[in-house]
């Protein structure tokens, strides 16, 4: 190391980071990918900001109140807020951003997140005007009116896509809005600079107009796009970047997991198999599904196929998403007891096959081709099941591009599909709502499980404002899910990274803004 420049890992004023893909847009309403959101999250501020404890705390907001029925949120802005160009940041900017998000003309792919705010769905469908959205400003106060209680709503107030936008600026830039770092103004701790729309080197520079600028210690955060994970690792080892993910491949994880800089954080993501219970005769059979679940050795899977870079699943909800009222990890609290039992699996499978009476079970398992791990996973499952059930089963792998998998899943055009679900906020419902009913958008296997549906419904309605009752509802839901073997949870994600030990104050979250550098600095 050191051949190509000095070691930057000791400069107190700067931090250096890398991201694995290009940024796609700086349009606040349109950003969908993790890294555009990462940039926006660090350069734009929202009403709230998730703190190190995982709780939304006031940022642009001075304070906020929730009505008892959970249907009205009232937020008061700090005074004297400014955009990076020096202009005033007002409550109207917040309202505009929400309106812009749901405006069909904007064509935001994330518009549905606002669903639940009064009239949002109708506006998105073009039935009502944006001005009728349940978000309004008066003076320094913004009022949100909801259709129904949404325990997760406070997280939306911290969500990058809802950060304030200045209408005058947006309309001035028109088509060019958010296409380069020059075509955006910033309300966060940093201003974004040096991005021309496609390049891979840019930086965040301290925003002196940020309300809390005096507590922002870092002057510059340098960023570069490094697509090759091995390259990024090398850059870390050369001291050129301060953080690098090692979960990219099982080998990379194994090779570095003992490094003293390793830091693992939860990721609100889980991988599970969906069984198509609508049109596959075998998978309609509960015994067969149970047998398949029992034949899945999740610990071995996590170790062999992911090399330990993922944790074996114990429930649908991912590990580390959020805590229960007693401070326990939700996933540990709700776990229904998935096990590996080869004998019982074989037994159940025999019975199931007899019930179906269509001879050998031929089944296709579909996944997308994005990562080595996905491929390893289906290879493992195929081998595991075939070695458990012998010639009674024939598993075919179908590895398709991401888009194709999405389409097949949504159209129900699959037997078994490997689904990776990334939660949107730190609440169990981000997982349980997936299968809220037989026709719920993400119940792609189209299963019916009345006990489960009832439990989830209860959590969203009766118990919406009662946290401890809700977590018990979730526990019931998990149990119902396991009993009927509607899905097969495989593993829960975690992000393992090497992190420069002299960098302090970074806030990492399992969802949303995964890396918050607002108060990050080098010691």
């Amino acid at each position: 190391a050191g051949w190509w420049g000095s070691n930057p890992s000791s400069d107190k004023n700067t931090l250096n980071y890398a991201m694995p893909t290009d940024i796609q847009t700086l349009d606040i309403s349109k950003a969908t990918d993790q890294y555009s959101n990462l940039v926006l999250g660090n350069t734009e501020s929202n009403l709230l900001r998730v703190n190190a404890k995982g709780e939304p705390a006031p940022d642009l907001a001075k304070s906020y109140q929730v009505s008892d029925d959970g249907l009205t949120y009232t937020v008061e802005l700090r005074s004297g807020l400014k955009w990076s160009d020096g202009s005033k940041l007002t409550a109207q900017d917040v309202v505009y951003s929400w309106q812009r998000m749901v405006n069909p003309k904007t064509a935001s792919q994330y518009a549905s997140l606002a669903s639940g705010v009064l009239n949002a769905d109708d506006i998105m469908a073009g039935k009502k005007d944006v001005s009728e959205l349940g978000v309004s400003a008066s003076g320094n106060t913004i009022t949100f009116k909801l259709d129904h209680a949404m325990p997760q709503f406070k997280y939306l107030l911290a969500f990058a896509n809802f950060a304030p936008q200045k209408q005058a600026y947006v309309s001035k830039e028109g088509d060019k809005y958010g296409t380069t770092s020059e075509k955006q103004i910033y309300s966060g701790a940093y201003k974004f600079e040096g991005w021309n729309g496609t390049n891979g080197k840019f930086k965040m520079v301290k925003n002196d107009n940020y309300w809390d600028a005096k507590n922002v210690k870092t002057k510059t955060v340098n960023w570069q796009v490094v697509k090759n994970a091995d390259t990024a690792l090398k850059l870390y080892k050369q001291g050129k970047i301060d953080r690098v993910s090692i979960s990219n491949s099982p080998e990379m994880y194994s090779a570095n997991k003992n490094n003293k800089d390793v830091k693992s954080t939860a990721v609100a993501a889980a991988t599970y198999l969906e069984y198509n219970q609508a049109n596959n005769a075998f998978l309609k059979n509960e015994k067969i599904r149970q047998a398949l679940n029992l034949a899945t050795n999740r610990t071995e899977l996590a170790s062999q196929a992911t090399g330990g870079s993922r944790d074996a699943a114990q429930s649908l909800v991912s590990k580390g998403l959020t805590k229960t009222t007693t401070g326990e990890d939700l996933s540990a609290y709700v776990k229904p007891g998935y096990t590996y039992d080869k004998k019982k699996a074989q037994e159940l499978f025999k019975q199931g096959l007899a019930e179906v009476n269509q001879g050998k079970m031929k089944v296709t398992i579909e996944t997308d081709a994005d990562a080595v791990i996905s491929k390893n996973t289906v290879d493992y499952i195929k081998q595991a099941w075939e070695s458990t059930f012998g010639s009674d089963i024939e598993v075919t792998e179908k590895i398709v591009p991401f888009k194709q998998r999405l389409k097949d899943s949504q159209a129900g055009d699959f037997d078994i599909v490997v689904t990776n679900w990334n939660g949107d906020y730190q609440d169990g419902s981000t997982f349980y709502d997936l299968f809220a009913s037989k026709d719920a958008g993400y119940n792609q296997g189209r299963f019916t499980n009345d006990a489960y549906f009832a439990a989830v419904k209860k959590a969203e309605t009766t118990d919406a404002t009662n946290a401890s009752a809700r977590q018990d509802d979730f526990k019931d839901a998990e149990k119902a899910l396991m009993e009927e073997a509607n899905i097969n949870p495989l593993y829960s994600w975690k992000a393992s990274s090497l992190v420069r030990s002299n960098v302090k104050g970074v806030v990492e979250s399992p969802v949303g803004l995964t890396l918050d550098l607002t108060y990050a600095h080098r010691k």
Binding site: Q109, A111, S112, A125, G200, D230, K234, F402
Partner: protein, 305 residues
């Protein structure tokens, strides 16, 4: 000459139109929507389709596309929201072009040198050695070579930077090398056989009979005659470079057009796919046209008509 070029340009435009049409309709058959978000609902997709005009009949979309294309507008990327395809390509093309041109120049120069040496030492050890080397160069796909170079010079020896573009010239060395080996190998083989043929020709015999010395014979007569046909190779080599660069750019994280093409395939970002295809086809055809014109300029026998 002017008429010829005009005629060729007309054919070029016609071919381009067929290419555009073919890819456009091919795109329509491909599965999936161009939106990236798994969280989109069916109604939201409908909404989006309406916004992007994807709900119109295909034929109307096609004509819209052609009309826009004639105005130099290749549409807006789905993946890079709001970014116009022309801008995306405009920013990335120079990078790929630099890489491609560097590789082509390095490759062709090496090839000319090796080929000439090989031909002059025909059937000697050196010739055999260069022959094996160049064959090896042809039989190694550039992405495998890229991986090997990366492994040796990047990871093991730590001599050269392993990724990126635009910070230092040293970053361009490995990707250029990975791409240059193909052209170098092809040129070597071609120059060798061409030169051997020329050295056996009657006019070289006559030149030798003049007594101007073997060096002069080679310099004044053999070189030029065996170099001219190399021009015809540039077209196909450009095509190979385009293919190779997509993967090589990916491996070395070069933010070029090839990398973008590869990433636009799984996301079905078809404005980008189409734009890239058009640009590729255009570059290829222009390259062939240029080499044809160059050939006519340097070779007195060739007349354009």
């Amino acid at each position: 000459m002017a008429r010829y070029i005009l005629k060729r340009l007309l054919i070029l435009v016609l071919t381009l139109w067929i290419v555009v049409t073919a890819t456009f309709f091919l795109m329509q058959i491909l599965p999936g929507t161009p939106y990236n978000n798994p969280k989109l609902t069916a109604s939201a997709i409908e909404q989006l389709n309406a916004t992007y005009g994807l709900d119109k009949p295909v034929i109307v979309q096609y004509f819209d596309y052609i009309v826009n294309l004639l105005h130099g507008d290749m549409g807006t990327s789905f993946q890079y929201q709001n970014q116009s395809v022309s801008m995306l390509i405009g920013q990335r093309l120079p990078i790929s072009a630099q890489l491609g041109v560097q590789a082509l120049i390095v490759g062709v120069l090496i090839g000319l040198w090796f080929g000439a040496v090989s031909a002059r030492h025909q059937n000697e050890k050196l010739d055999g050695f260069l022959g094996v080397i160049s064959t090896l160069g042809i039989s190694t796909p550039s992405f495998i070579l890229a991986i090997v170079l990366l492994f040796i010079f990047g990871y093991q020896l730590d001599w050269l930077p392993v990724s990126g573009w635009g910070d230092s010239f040293s970053q361009t060395i490995l990707p250029t090398l990975a791409l240059a080996v193909g052209p170098a190998a092809i040129t070597t083989r071609f120059v060798r056989s061409e030169m051997i043929e020329v050295l056996h020709s009657d006019y070289i015999q006559l030149a030798r009979a003049k007594g101007i010395g073997e060096g002069q014979v080679i310099k004044r007569h053999a070189y030029r005659n065996s170099m001219i046909p190399i021009l015809t190779l540039i077209g196909p080599m450009t095509a190979n470079l385009l293919t190779g660069s997509t993967l090589v750019e990916n491996i070395f994280s070069v933010p070029g057009i090839g990398q973008q093409f590869v990433s636009s395939i799984p996301t079905k970002d078809y404005p980008v796919i189409m734009g890239t295809t058009i640009i590729y086809a255009l570059m290829l055809m222009v390259m062939i046209l240029i080499t044809d014109i160059l050939t006519a300029i340097v070779d007195p026998r060739v007349r354009l008509d």
